[in-house]
């Protein structure tokens, strides 16, 4: 493909297709390959609890990519992500649950089946909510989606046949692939290694799909709706259609993430899908980088690893106590950190961790002549 004219000039694009390619520069190709390789080799050198944490981070990243599609790319602020996560989680858990158990279950444990069903159920919910989004803008929409979380919380708390009720909970979805249970220790791999690899593969699949979506005609239309919806509709973009697509895709991702979120722990409570969870996902995309896929992944990993990092604090800072009784406990530090990080990133680095990376990259790109 590369002609003689472009030899030695890797960033000279001779076609539009070349510029919007998935991996359009050589460093991107090299580094993405290297990172995926490292991620694949990681399970053989890390302990199981770290692997589980990373696997949860990968799942959160899928959810964060979903939120970034609707909020970052299409500009429709959603505080209701926890609601869609919950729908996915309960669809998957109900489908794969034990038919003779104390909560609803249908015994379909095949992973692809319940994963797609969870995504589809959440997407359907997204499509039902979307008409509101078409009529409302900005902060009105934020409040309506916030209301979804409260209504969802109430429904899941009351529907004890499905959710097990608050404080009791129900078992999470059971992952089987090609007749193999993935959530038990196997002959070659431990449970954590299997789940880690599963989540990694799924994250790569969903990240590539999302990247393809946002660099397509649909993605550009969504960005146009975000930047100026009136201008977008003047140039012939159907606002209703693209807002609907954004909500459906975002909810699909949320549903998938919700279905996988508790597979590693194996148990979940209806109370976990609350406003705090929505705020965490908002924090992920704001800290990671709005309207970037790699930023969503960075942000999700960061927020997921944050509790682990703060748990190490009492060793460094003696006034932080490690139990919940002290005046400054690690849990409080963690909650305050969410808040401070959101404020700090928005004020000082609105492009998030992705922006920091861009700055570092630009510094070294022109090194030693960087100003």
């Amino acid at each position: 493909m590369r002609t003689t004219a472009t030899r030695g000039r890797p960033e000279l694009y001779t076609s539009y297709r070349q510029e919007i390619a998935l991996l359009n520069t050589r460093p991107k190709r090299v580094w993405v390959t290297a990172m995926v390789l490292v991620a694949v080799l990681m399970p053989f050198s890390l302990t199981d609890d770290v692997l589980q944490l990373l696997a949860t981070g990968f799942v959160a990243a899928i959810g964060a990519i979903g939120l970034n599609i609707v909020t970052g790319y299409a500009g429709q602020v959603s505080l209701g992500h926890a609601f869609f996560l919950a729908i996915g989680a309960y669809t998957a858990a109900a489908l794969s649950g034990d038919p003779d158990g104390r909560v609803i279950g249908f015994g379909v444990t095949s992973l692809p089946v319940w994963l797609l069903a969870a995504g589809a159920a959440a997407a359907l919910a997204g499509v039902i909510v979307a008409p509101l989004a078409v009529r409302l803008r900005g902060l009105y929409l934020a409040i309506v989606t916030l209301a979804l979380v409260f209504i969802g919380e109430h429904v899941f708390r009351d529907w004890t046949d499905l959710t097990g009720g608050p404080g009791v909970g129900r078992p999470a979805a059971v992952p089987t692939l090609f007749g193999q249970r993935l959530d038990v220790d196997g002959e070659f791999f431990t449970k954590s290694q299997k789940l880690y690899l599963l989540m990694l593969v799924l994250l790569v699949i969903f990240a590539v799909l999302a990247r393809n979506l946002v660099r397509s005609r649909t993605g550009r239309a969504m960005a146009a709706v975000r930047d100026r919806d009136i201008a977008a509709s003047v140039i012939g973009i159907d606002l209703t259609k693209y807002k609907l697509i954004a909500f459906a895709v975002s909810s699909f991702y949320a549903g998938v993430a919700g279905a996988l979120l508790y597979v590693t722990i194996g148990f979940f409570d209806p109370g976990s899908f609350n406003l705090l969870m929505s705020v965490q996902y908002i924090a992920m995309i704001l800290i990671g980088g709005v309207a970037t896929i790699s930023g969503s992944i960075m942000g999700a990993m960061f927020i997921t690893l944050l509790p682990r990092i703060t748990r190490e604090l009492p060793a460094v800072l003696p006034f932080v106590s490690s139990d919940a009784t002290g005046r400054i406990s690690v849990f409080q530090v963690e909650a305050i950190l969410y808040g401070l990080l959101i404020i700090g990133f928005l004020i000082f680095e609105p492009r998030g961790m992705y922006g920091i990376w861009i700055r570092i990259r630009n510094y070294w790109k022109s090194w030693p002549f960087s100003y």
């Binding site: 602020v77 009529r135 409302l136 900005g138 902060l139 005046r327 400054i328 401070l340 004020i347």
Partner: protein, 295 residues
Amino acid sequence: MTELLQSLVRGLGSGSVYALLAIGFVIIYKSMRVISFAQPAFMLAGAVLVSYLVTGMNFFLAVLVAAALVALLGVGVERTALRPMIGKPVFVISIITLGVDVVIRVVVNSYIGLDVRQVGDPWGLRTVSLFGVDVQQRYLAMFLTTMVLVTVLFVFFKYSRMGLAMRATAFDQEVALSQGVSVGGVFALSWAIAGALAAIAGVFVSTGAGLDQSLWIIALKALPVIILGGLDSVGGAVIAGLAVGVFESIVGTYGGRVSHLFDGEFAQVSPYILMMLVLLVRPYGLFGTREVERV
């Protein structure tokens, strides 16, 4: 009949609390075009301050001091976290207030602890007979205080110089600035008023049963109220606040008899459902200004 009247009074009482909170949201929205998600934290802070202050002084004095302190806190938040963001998209600023809320609430929670604290109000759960119906004194106190505060605010906006400045800023910030209005001062004052109102609302919510860490959720019920009333209408906030309070209380009393789907905690989420239904019909609330757009 007695039951209906009692739930009506209860609804008006809690509705006036929602109205106080909603006015805070609306005042901030009018001056900065931002929905402040920090109101729950201010409310909680006010209640906690009173519960500590009341050990050393009269209850009413304690409420005034707490309201003043929370107003100061509001000004502080506005200066440090929001002033640098002027000109940025409103969504970003709103998310910052969400962060502020989390931070303040964690600090306040550590002063609440795990127990229920009392604000030491003079009403308790005592009742008074009103037209032959026993109603709790605290609901009457809430309603009357709110009405007095709302009247004071209306007079302030209508007749004082600063009130005029605030209305001018809400109308057009740049024009107000060019006429010599201190827009920064208006921002600070609106955060102060919102903080003080939230603090008073917090005290009222904590009368009777006391306050614990889960109280902040109540402040978010002001969101359906401001949507129903329209984001930029103070009068709408008062009317919608009372309406939502009464609606919630009626649903709480009679909902369970219609169907078991509507009993128990359903009353708590009913304002949100009411809001969604109204929004489908009127996207800019009942009293809000319709944004005109031509394509």
